[in-house]
Amino acid sequence: MSGSASLLPSGFEALEPFVAGWAIAGTANRAHRRSDSNEADRLAFYDAARALAPAALELLDRKSLAVFDEREERLMNLMLSLAHVALAVESQGPDEARHTQSRQHMKITQTTADRSS
């Protein structure tokens, strides 16, 4: 197994290139990452992550969140980033840049995802 392949559970090698940019802890950080991205960046991640989302959650659902290893935690955070990026790609489209300006005023203060499980 190569070094890069070990970043995620087996079967999700296609998402390896996105780990550094999108496997982010914290809901507010993920929302900010979306706002800090460009369209090409978003589309590339969205296409790869959406295709693997059902398989990823099916795999992750087999374990308790509290006992995820590092690779599973990264995959979880990639899926959570997909939740944000999908809105940019599927809903906002060409309005995303303008929408980002409005969104920055909605401060995320606490989420269930940020609490330890």
Partner: protein, 401 residues
């Protein structure tokens, strides 16, 4: 459900007739003098939603919440005896704000200034060299505030003396609220905004759907359709001083791929919690004066609009959940639901500020509400009747334009 497109379908129609069709004066939406009257007539009277029992699960837990509109800081405590109590967050020695933390767990509260120490029941337990004072400890308890709970939601009432009970205040809505997920919620997700807008202008935006197709043309595509091009609610109801609407959604709207995936999971979890067929899932509650709750079990959010001044407000959105995230799919579904709500609400904030700038210039003496903005009209009448009644008690002129 039949929708009267371009018209309204309230339960009786009597309220619409009672409210009339006249223009509404513009100045209450920016005038500092009017806001000062609202502080007394609205926010220092009546029940205000301020928290949820999920924040006070254990005896000894407490929260401190500002109520800027009333110039107050409120300490709410879950006592060791299981009783919920609320106090003004002020030491009875010389008024120092007692608790600095926003939340926590304590056995007692000690003022940092001179170490006066209060029990969770608000009684003064000890004070250094108290023999030098000219007052009894029994007369130095924290000033209490009326507090009560409905559906897990904590309400306070800052009025002095006896007040109408919370259940009476909520009327038949109390039972409906108790049937919603919020009544069983154990946790929540929160996002907060501040806005340069009068609290009523901000609040109004969230109780009329006339703007949906223009402001939420992308994020709210499922809220309108050829049968209902403005996405008007299916029904309005009035429960003075509160009001509700039943949201209409386009049955033919095609969800986007990730939206279908995420909401599909959300519905599964809601069904597992017993909310698969909630009759109030599309009910949108507007509790006087500044609280909203949407009945949807997958997007079960509340929204409080707290005035900070005549032209500035703070909004707090909370998505209530039953149980912590206990699976990857549940965590994903919740993250998506919250991100979706935040996207939509961000769009509202921007246009509300534009409205405030326009009103505050004073060019308009009146604004206009159409038939499907009747909830805004009802809201204004509820506020203004209290302001005018309070103004009469002052015996001073200066009525609304």
């Amino acid at each position: 459900m039949n929708v009267q497109v371009g018209g309204i379908q309230s339960e009786t129609g009597e309220m619409e007739r009672a409210l009339g069709t006249d223009p509404i004066p513009a100045s209450p939406y920016f005038d500092p003098a009017y806001f000062e009257l609202e502080r007394e007539a609205v926010f220092r009277q009546g029940w205000l939603q301020i928290g949820h029992m999920a924040e006070l699960r254990e005896p000894g837990s407490f929260i401190v919440r500002p109520v800027e509109a009333a110039g107050a800081s409120i300490l709410i405590v879950h006592g060791k005896d299981g009783k919920l109590r609320a106090f003004h967050n002020v030491c009875t020695h010389r008024g120092t704000e007692l608790v600095a933390e926003e939340e926590g767990k304590a056995a007692r509260f000690t003022c940092r200034y001179h170490a006066w120490t209060f029990g969770l029941d608000g009684s003064l337990q000890s004070a250094p060299d108290f023999e030098q004072f000219y007052v009894d400890k029994a007369d130095c308890a924290l000033p209490s505030v009326h507090v009560d709970v409905c559906a897990g939601l904590i309400f306070i009432n800052l009025a002095e003396g006896p007040v109408e009970g919370l259940c009476d205040w909520l009327g038949p809505l109390a039972e409906r609220l108790e049937s919603l997920p919020v009544a069983r919620a154990t946790t929540f997700t929160e996002y907060v905004y501040e806005i340069d807008a009068n609290w009523k202008l901000a609040y109004d935006n969230f109780q009329e759907n006339y703007h949906l197709r223009f402001i939420h043309s992308r994020s709210g595509a499922a809220a309108v359709g050829s049968d209902n091009p403005f996405g008007y609610p299916a029904r309005y109801s009035f429960h003075d001083p509160h009001r509700t609407q039943t949201i209409w959604s386009n049955p033919n709207a095609a969800p986007t791929p990730v939206q279908a995936f995420a909401f599909g999971k959300g519905f599964q979890f809601a069904a597992a919690d017993g909310f698969g067929a909630n009759p109030h899932a599309k009910d949108y509650f507007a509790l006087f004066p500044n609280f909203f709750l949407f009945g949807s079990p997958t997007q079960h959010f509340s929204h409080v609009v707290m005035p900070l001044s005549a032209e500035r407000s703070r909004g707090v959105f909370r998505f209530y959940w039953i149980g912590d995230d206990d699976s990857a799919s549940k965590r994903f579904a919740r993250e998506y639901a919250v991100a979706t709500g935040r996207d939509i609400h961000a769009e509202d904030r921007t246009v509300i500020e534009a409205g405030q700038r326009g009103l505050a210039c004073g060019a308009l003496k009146a604004i206009h509400f159409q038939a499907n903005e009747v909830l805004c009209r009802h809201f204004f009448h509820q506020v203004d009747s209290r302001v005018q009644a309070y103004r009469e008690t002052l015996g001073s002129p200066g009525a609304t334009a």
